[in-house]
């Protein structure tokens, strides 16, 4: 079975607990059709880069699974029908990902910090 990575965005005014519940529901669909969930990630409430349906934020969830294509199609169909899902995208993966995805990784070399350093150097 191929590996898939699905990310979906849920509307902002839905609670985090409800998003978890939705994630569970979708995973259940995948598993019930013979799939296996490899990874789930809650990215939390994230700011959009642009306004989608008059909303500026949304709950992002990532589902990585090893399941038949039919299961993904069914899950996408349900997402399409669910009005709370703003956007979804499923991508076939070549190999399972390692560690948490790049979105969750925190970088301590913050831009602001770098700027401060540069300013100090200029002053000195």
């Amino acid at each position: 079975m191929p590996l898939y990575e699905t990310v979906f965005i849920v509307r902002q005014d839905i609670g985090a607990a409800q998003v978890e519940q939705m994630t569970k529901d979708y995973s259940k669909i995948l598993t019930s059709m013979g799939g296996k969930i490899l990874k789930t990630e809650q990215w939390g409430l994230r700011q959009f880069a642009y306004i989608i349906n008059k909303a500026k934020k949304g709950h992002y969830t990532l589902l990585e699974s090893d399941c038949p294509a039919a299961a993904i199609i069914e899950m996408e169909r349900l997402m399409r029908n669910n009005e709370d899902v703003v956007r979804y995208m499923s991508i076939k993966l070549d190999e399972p990902s390692k560690g948490p995805s790049a979105v969750l990784v925190k970088h301590d070399n913050d831009d602001r910090y770098e700027n401060n350093n540069n300013n100090n150097q200029e002053v000195a």
């Binding site: 990310v7 965005i9 994230r46 959009f48 880069a49 642009y50 989608i52 949304g58 992002y60 990532l62 956007r87 995208m89 991508i91 995805s101 790049a102 979105v103 970088h107 831009d111 602001r112 770098e114 700027n115």
Partner: protein, 133 residues
């Protein structure tokens, strides 16, 4: 008899535009230093960076201030990887991790990248000197 004439023509041409040459050399120097910073493709070769559509921080480096993709002739990404990169940026845009367009207003929030603007290049910075010899 024609040859010496031509030579003299060339000489006169050269002497006519020393300023242009000097300007070009300056701009060329800047351009060269910009290119020299990273000569090889960062996504291939020895321990390459992976292209991931979720990695906004990496993708952001290959996008101009406006949010347009940078051409590979500037970023020196190889053709194969440039295609992958383009796909990744488009995915990331669709999922609203990256903007399709970034306007000037939004730009003032964050620090500007330390590279010459690709969107509105100044003439002197990026002269097309490949044809003129």
């Amino acid at each position: 008899m024609a040859r010496p004439e031509r030579n003299s023509d060339r000489n006169s041409e050269r002497s006519e535009r020393p300023n242009a040459e000097a300007e070009g050399a300056e701009a060329g120097g800047e351009k060269k230093s910009f290119f020299k910073r990273r000569k090889t493709c960062p996504f291939s070769g020895k321990d390459p960076q992976s292209i991931d559509w979720k990695d906004v921080r990496t993708l952001g480096r290959y996008v101009s201030e406006r949010g347009k993709m940078m051409p590979s002739r500037i970023t020196s990404v190889c053709q194969k990887k440039q295609r992958e990169l383009a796909q990744a940026i488009k995915r990331s845009r669709y999922m609203a991790l990256m903007p399709y367009v970034r306007t000037e207003m939004e730009n003032t929030r964050g620090p500007r990248p330390d590279r010459p603007s690709y969107d509105r290049p100044e003439r002197s910075e990026r002269p097309h000197r490949s044809n003129a010899v």
